[in-house]
């Protein structure tokens, strides 16, 4: 044997690769490269060295007579070779037969987002992710292959390092939103796998109807300790604000409307001390340029027995709205240790402290009169925010904005400044996610794993509404604090047996899982502050009231599961899964459900006839697969099947009242999924991708079956399994190395998906379900034969050029026109017509995109890299309710498009004659089709330019690699939509009222510069 030395570098830019595993084929000898990529190993000339490294294609070199072997490794762009994480294990992507998409942590890590799920937007076929608005740490709306329920959750199950965790807003329901997934540092994530079809998800049984997201955090790698520091700083601004009327325009327009209403002028100028006209742009007082920063330090390394990955992270982000902040400190420790040849133990622990602060942005109440998304659109521009003496311009008695010299004001709206200056709304998490596990090797290929995990979130919600004005103005100050403890433990025990006989390979997994989830929330409200000095709950108040959101609940899940994966020669593949789940929320006799899944695959490209044909030169990989299975939804409330009494007070005496009519026959919602797909690799995997078709039949939907209100059943409804719905669609992905020449390379990843949803059956003989926005406006409907939550409005046909009146179409199909106040006439003959009401609405179109996807390009030239990530979506309609407000003829400000109003006979315009007080013609009282717009868009979600420093320079500073980059998130958007943003979802995660834009804040654009250094 000779001593062989050498250096391993990347073929991409020649940089040295530390930690590459170098082994002698057919022996147990092996080593890894040091920090400079250098290795030394003993080998005889007849032997072959194998170089393997994650993310690179492995290379073999015959030793021969060489004493020095320098190797360049090629980046492995082929996803087909990866190992992917699946439920309770991992699997080679080559033989996977379920629909699974992987996203590497790198694609998420440096984005200026609060939670990793926001970073997945546009990157996964079949998964539509929407940012509901620009408020920080708002949970994105995630739909895996469409909306999967009507009343229950349509958000996927989130699993971190094998442990299911709690997701969804954890704030106590104040103004501050709080997504617990924001407690996970995106920089800690190695990969995210999204399981979409029944074959992949059936192992999660009753929790998998909306798909499963498996998050894997970074684990230690064998080799010298590697220290990495990542940082970025950025600035955030509102994006696409409206152009509102200025003071002069406002007075002209509103006085014209007053004149048309038979009134004298109502709006008069106010002047500043220097004699200039008061001209307030309320946006200036509400929005800001927010500054954000992020720092992450990680240490990663290990030896053959012990591997570790530690990280600490800190981020502090200011939103585009004043007083909207998010900060997070995280610590993560992932350790695994091999005790002996049989037992490996380990632990993954992350602790996060995250802090959300937000004023009332309107995110949690679309029609809130204090919502900052709304106030700049309503408040008069000819009124100053402050009086001449510096005090707030407020009307103390009415607790609303001062009128200035105007005779009319917009009713109960607040001056936003006192709440911005003096109130405080926060939601803070102490979040521990931890698991410990032990792998015991019982026999060759047979491993027993036991894993116990906990997901504990402690949330402190603090709300103080100042006594001066605004939310607390009417109560002389309100303080509401809540403490919420959300605890989940999960214990899994399972056996994995990997074995092969000849060309037959099989993996069997069998196991059990038990899980318990509890929530305890308690708090109180205090109002009427004893002295304005007090600014917190702990101060002195006159009145104390028990918190209305006090809450205590629990549920339990017990499961048995098994899976068999089989392949013959990696050519013919089959997989069978069965899960049996018992869930506490169902009545005795209905607690248990069985969830089977099966899939078949055929790697055509492994067949000799294929390999022998000329086609194989082009198509080197082709796999056909299909799957079928059934999964469930546990989204039903914890005690939904029971008839319950709740307690309160009558004066000071305790009470019990009948409060819930249960249904002991309540069953699981079921989702039966069919998936057909093919995976391909072309030109030696230079181009890879997948094509999928899916059909998802959802049955036994739990719906509130309406009861005659006179029956007096609480909530006038009883939950019943009555509905059904179907989702269908196609998914295409394409990953290509488009160009590679003289140091220049261009990689592109493209995905596009389609989805169509149809409601098939509903409760009470298919009675429509009308969904509300903010409890006031109904512009969505669930109706059999249409997609869930379709837009539902009264048709309008522009403005009658003769008289400037809006033309509406009533339920009978007749055109009627409206003259404020209260005069409805037929367009045809001018005779009196019945007024238009909600019953004249019709289904206008789907609110859910019918196609969506992304195009990610990475260009590299020598040390420079350029990333261009486009996201697109379309085919849907948006009900732009904000526009109704922007054109409302009460004393609200208007969008400058109001200047195109009808003024004289013959004017062709879409804006009717202005009449003061008119809240009907432009859709404020009943939603109209004038305010429905197409939602198609292409968004430059992320564009980044990076520079990787040359080796030579760095070595002197003992730095192994360094990259500097600048990026813009949300650089621009191409859309015909006239609202702030076509992605806005005022009703956030609602299944039945999507696609509504009502007084929400716009989206933000963020510029960042960042640096990533490894030592």
């Amino acid at each position: 044997q000779n001593k062989i030395t050498g250096k391993v570098t990347t073929s991409e830019n020649g940089s040295e690769l530390p930690g590459v595993s170098v082994s002698v084929k057919g022996s147990t000898r092996g080593t890894t490269t040091n920090a400079n990529g250098v290795f030394t190993i003993n080998a005889s000339p007849s032997e072959t060295l194998v170089f393997t490294f994650v993310g690179f294609k492995s290379t073999s070199v015959k030793v021969g007579k060489l004493g020095t072997i320098n190797v360049q490794l090629d980046l492995d762009i082929s996803e087909l070779n990866e190992v992917v994480v699946v439920g309770y294990g991992t699997q080679s992507k080559k033989v996977i037969t379920g629909a699974v998409t992987s996203v590497s942590g790198k694609q998420i890590a440096s984005q200026p987002v609060q939670s990793f799920d926001q970073g997945l937007q546009g990157r996964v076929s079949g998964v539509n992710i929407t940012t509901p608005n620009g408020v920080l740490n708002n949970a994105p709306v995630i739909r895996v292959r469409g909306t999967s329920s009507i009343n229950q959750s349509s958000s996927p199950l989130i699993v971190i390092d094998g442990m299911p965790i709690n997701s969804g807003d954890v704030s106590a329901g104040g103004y501050t939103v709080n997504n617990p997934l924001g407690d996970i540092n995106p920089s800690d994530i190695e990969s995210v796998e999204i399981l979409k079809d029944a074959s992949a998800t059936a192992i999660y049984g009753s929790r998998a109807a909306a798909g499963v997201m498996l998050v894997t955090t970074k684990k230690g790698k064998e080799g010298k300790a590697k220290l990495t520091y990542d940082t970025w700083v950025g600035s955030t601004q509102a994006f696409r604000k409206f152009k509102m009327l200025d003071a002069q325009q406002f007075m002209d327009i509103k006085n014209e409307a007053a004149k048309n209403a038979g009134l004298a002028n109502q709006f008069f100028p106010s002047y500043n001390a220097d004699g200039s006209l008061v001209n307030t742009n309320w946006y200036d007082y509400v929005y800001q340029t927010g500054v954000s920063q992020s720092h992450n330090l990680s240490l990663n390394g290990g030896n053959k027995d012990t591997k570790y990955s530690f990280s600490v992270g800190y981020t502090d982000q200011d939103g585009m709205i004043k007083k909207n902040t998010f900060s997070r400190m995280t610590g993560r420790m992932n350790v695994s240790h091999k005790l002996n040849d049989f037992i490996t133990i380990g632990s993954n622990i992350t602790y996060a402290n995250s802090f959300n602060q937000s004023p009332n942005t309107g995110t949690t109440g679309a029609f809130s009169t204090g919502g900052l998304g709304r106030l700049p659109l309503v408040l008069a521009p000819n009124i100053a925010p402050y009086n001449a003496d510096g005090s707030y311009n407020i009307n103390k008695a009415g607790n609303n904005m001062g009128l200035g010299n105007n005779l009319q004001g917009p009713g109960g709206y607040y001056n936003p400044l006192p709440d911005l200056d003096l109130s405080k709304f926060t939601s803070e998490n102490a979040h521990l996610i931890a698991n410990v596990f032990a792998d015991v090797k019982l026999y060759k290929g047979l491993v027993f794993r036991t894993s116990y995990g906990m997901d504990n979130t402690q949330v402190e919600d603090i709300s103080f509404s100042n006594p001066v004005h605004g939310e607390g103005g009417g109560s002389n100050g309100i303080a509401t604090n809540y403490y919420t403890s959300i605890k989940q433990w999960n214990w899994q025990n399972y056996l994995t047996y990997d074995f092969g006989v000849g060309k037959n390979n099989a993996t069997i997994v069998v196991g059990t899982e038990a899980q318990k989830f509890t929530v305890n929330r308690w708090g109180a409200t205090r109002n009427n502050v004893s002295d304005p000095f007090f600014t917190s709950f702990q101060g002195s108040f006159v009145n104390n009231v028990a918190g209305g959101s006090n809450y205590q609940t629990q549920n339990g899940l017990l499961s048995y599961f098994g899976r068999l994966n089989y392949d013959y020669d990696k050519k013919y593949i089959a997989s069978f899964t069965l899960r049996r789940d018992g869930y506490s929320a169902y009545a005795t006799g209905n607690k248990w459900g069985n969830f089977p899944g099966a899939s078949l695959g055929w790697r055509l490209s492994e067949e000799e006839f294929w390999k022998g044909s000329s086609l194989a030169n082009t198509v080197n990989e082709l796999k056909l697969r299909s799957s079928w299975g059934r999964v469930g939804n546990t989204g039903v409330s914890d005690f939904a099947s029971l008839s319950l009494f709740s307690s309160g007070l009558y004066g000071s005496s305790p009470t019990w009242v009948f409060a819930q009519a249960g249904n002991p026959n309540l069953r699981w919602e079921q989702s039966t999924k069919l998936d057909l797909g093919l995976s391909y690799g072309l030109f030696n995997d230079r181009i890879t991708g997948e094509i999928n078709y899916y059909k998802n039949d959802i049955s036994d939907l739990v719906l509130a079956e309406p009861q005659a209100p006179s029956r007096g059943v609480p909530n006038n409804s009883i939950n019943t399994n009555v509905g059904s719905m179907v989702n269908k669609g196609w998914e295409f992905t394409l990953n290509a190395l488009v160009l590679e020449k003289k140091g220049f390379s261009w990689n592109a990843n493209f995905n596009i998906s389609t989805n169509s949803n149809e409601v098939l059956a509903l409760a009470n003989n298919n009675a429509d379900i009308i969904a509300q926005t903010g409890g006031l406006e109904s512009s969505n409907i669930v109706r059999v034969g249409y997609p869930v939550g379709s837009i539902f409005v009264v048709e309008t046909r522009g403005v009658n050029p003769k008289n400037g009146q809006r033309i509406f179409v009533n339920a009978a199909g007749k055109e009627v026109q409206y003259s404020h106040p209260g005069k409805w006439t037929y367009v045809a003959d001018g005779t009196t017509a019945p007024s238009i009401t909600g019953s004249d609405r019709k289904v206008w179109g789907t609110a859910f995109p019918t196609f969506f996807g992304g195009l990610d390009n990475t260009f590299k030239y020598k040390s420079f890299d350029l990333g261009v990530f486009l996201q697109f979506s379309g085919g849907n309609y948006i009900y732009n309710g904000t526009k109704a407000g922007l054109r409302d003829q009460r004393a609200w400000n208007n969008h400058t498009d109001i200047l195109n109003r009808w003024q004289k006979e013959g004017d062709i315009t879409n804006i009717p004659r202005l009449v003061f007080g008119d809240n009907i013609s432009n859709g404020s009282s009943t939603p109209i089709s004038e305010n429905v717009e197409k939602g198609d868009f292409i968004r430059m979600r992320n564009i980044s330019l990076g520079y990787t420093f040359k080796k030579g320079l760095l070595e002197k500073a003992k730095i192994s690699s360094a990259r500097l980059y600048a990026q813009v998130q949300n650089a621009f958007i191409i859309t015909g939509y006239t609202g702030a943003d076509p992605e806005i979802s005022t009703n956030r995660n609602s299944n039945i009222a999507p696609g509504v834009d009502r007084n929400s804040t716009p989206q933000a654009r963020t510029y960042t510069v960042g640096l990533s250094v490894s030592f």
């Binding site: 009307n395 103390k396 008695a397 009415g398 009713g411 009417g474 109560s475 002389n476 038990a514 109002n527 009427n528 006159v542 009145n543 104390n544 009231v545 028990a546 006090n550 205590q552 609940t553 629990q554 339990g556 017990l558 018992g582 506490s584 005795t588 914890d638 005690f639 029971l642 319950l644 009494f645 709740s646 307690s647 309160g648 007070l649 009558y650 004066g651 000071s652 005496s653 305790p654 009470t655 019990w656 009242v657 009948f658 409060a659 009519a661 249904n663 079956e705 309406p706 009861q707 005659a708 209100p709 006179s710 029956r711 007096g712 059943v713 006038n716 009883i718 009470n764 009675a767 006031l776």
Partner: protein, 465 residues
């Protein structure tokens, strides 16, 4: 498995355990009261609706969720206000029905006498609610002797699915049921309770009698008004109840509307407490008071304030009307319910003053053209404690006396939820106010629509025109 899957709620009680102990049964009784005083019903809004449909109040805030559409008569069958009140009313009725049935099924948890008393309380409350329903969603009894469509009479407890269809009983049938419930209540309620608070906030015999007086007045059965009143009104001044709780007028009307709200004048009231409030935008003080309430409605200067019968020195004007609130543009405000920003004023349901004026009216009407002396004495008992009493010479005839009593009701019960019922039982239009036109008795807006949510599911329920 059991520990994980047999999880019981911690803060709610299974229906199976609701009758387990005497304390729980009592808590259910209190639950029936609290259901009846839901903010959409007797806890606040029902009163506001009855008052603002009349002419005494002007809308200030134009807020669409605080009785604006009720004030300007634009509610339709899908509007929130008719829908929410209907829902609250029938929820309370169902709870009362279920409770009465549960008592029978769980006989022995409380002794038979107490069980009967509890049932009587449930039926008293059910009568109170049906009275509110039939006066809101149906034509007045006096229009056609109750031949019009009333509301569905739900008299048995409802739990599972089904049984949605039930036709509307006639107005007369509803009143028959109300009186039957009140007769049962009168027989089985206790004469008194142990404390003044309970005597005001739980129904006793006099409460049932006082309610029967009101019901008979509403349907124009003057003789029955007299018969029932005589059980609790002495034949001559000072008028007082001689049996049961010693209900009588207070010397000062202001004392009735001040803490602790438990004088013997308050025959029955709904209590409020720091932890039992009417709810946001439900409290009476929230509607009428600026600064410490939202102040949605001010008093109409052209309403009863303009009446010569309502003198500026009248104790009821001095105590309950103000126009000097800061930044309120000199609006007249009703300050009968003064507490805020947390609105803890008790809601008066039956006051002794009402019994007296009800009796006065019945006697005056029975008196025909002549001026009935005992009616005048009863009127003066109420009027005289607050302002100068009338003399017989003030009235040309019996009709003038009846009109004076009706006017006195507007003064005495301002903001107590009487106005639209008083107009409707006399088959009078709802008067014009500010820029709102009068609603004639023939208008569909004269009564509220049956909620669309009822029509959708209850196929036997006929909508109002």
């Amino acid at each position: 498995e059991k520990e994980l899957l047999e999880v019981a709620p911690i803060t709610s009680l299974s229906d199976l355990d609701a009758f387990a102990t005497p304390d729980r049964v009592l808590a259910q009784v209190n639950g029936l009261y609290s259901s009846t005083k839901n903010g959409q019903l007797y806890g606040g809004r029902y009163y506001v609706y009855n008052d603002v449909r009349g002419e005494e109040f002007l809308n200030v805030t134009s807020n669409g969720v605080t009785a604006l559409q009720t004030w300007n008569h634009t509610n339709n069958s899908s509007s929130n206000e008719p829908t929410n009140m209907w829902n609250a009313a029938y929820l309370a009725i169902n709870r009362a029905n279920l409770f009465a049935e549960g008592l029978d099924k769980n006989a022995g948890v409380v002794d038979a006498t107490l069980a009967t008393q509890y049932k009587a309380e449930a039926r008293f409350l059910r009568a109170l609610i049906y009275y509110a329903l039939v006066n809101t969603y149906a034509q007045p009894y006096t229009k056609d002797n109750g031949a019009s469509l009333g509301v569905p009479l739900r008299l048995i407890g409802e739990v599972g699915s089904g049984n949605n269809n039930l036709k509307r009983s006639t107005v007369a049938e509803v009143y028959t049921q109300i009186l039957a419930d009140l007769n049962y209540a009168e027989q089985n309620l206790p004469s008194t309770y142990s404390t003044a608070l309970l005597n005001t906030t739980r129904a006793h015999k006099n409460s049932a009698i006082a309610m029967k007086v009101r019901v008979n007045l509403t349907i124009g059965k003057w003789a029955d008004v007299v018969t029932e009143s005589n059980k609790i009104v002495s034949t001559s001044a000072p008028f007082k109840a001689s049996t049961g709780v010693a209900n009588a007028l207070q010397a000062s009307v202001a004392s009735v509307f001040a803490a602790p709200y438990t004088t013997v004048e308050s025959i029955f009231s709904f209590p409020m407490g720091d932890n039992d409030l009417p709810g946001t935008q439900n409290g009476l003080a929230s509607y009428y008071l600026p600064l410490i309430g939202i102040g949605d409605f001010s008093l109409n200067p052209a309403g009863i304030l303009a009446s010569s019968a309502f003198s500026t020195t009248d104790a009821r004007r001095v105590n309950f009307v103000r126009n000097d609130f800061a930044s309120d543009l000199g609006r007249f405000r009703l300050t009968k319910y003064p507490t805020g920003p947390v609105h803890k004023d008790f809601v008066p349901v039956l006051r002794y003053a009402e019994v007296l004026l009800n009796l006065a009216e019945a006697k005056a009407r029975l008196g025909g053209a002549s001026v009935d002396a005992s009616a005048l004495a009863l009127l003066n008992a109420v009027r005289g404690r607050s302002t100068a009493a009338y003399t017989a010479a003030d009235f040309a005839n019996g009709t003038a006396l009846v009109n004076a009593i009706l006017t006195e009701r507007r003064i005495e019960f301002l903001g107590e939820g009487f106005r639209s019922i008083d107009l409707q039982r006399n088959n009078l239009p709802l008067p014009a106010k500010a820029n709102i036109a009068a609603i004639p008795v023939t208008s569909p807006a004269y009564i509220w629509p049956i909620p669309q949510s009822e029509i959708n599911v209850n196929k036997d329920c006929v909508p109002n025109p």
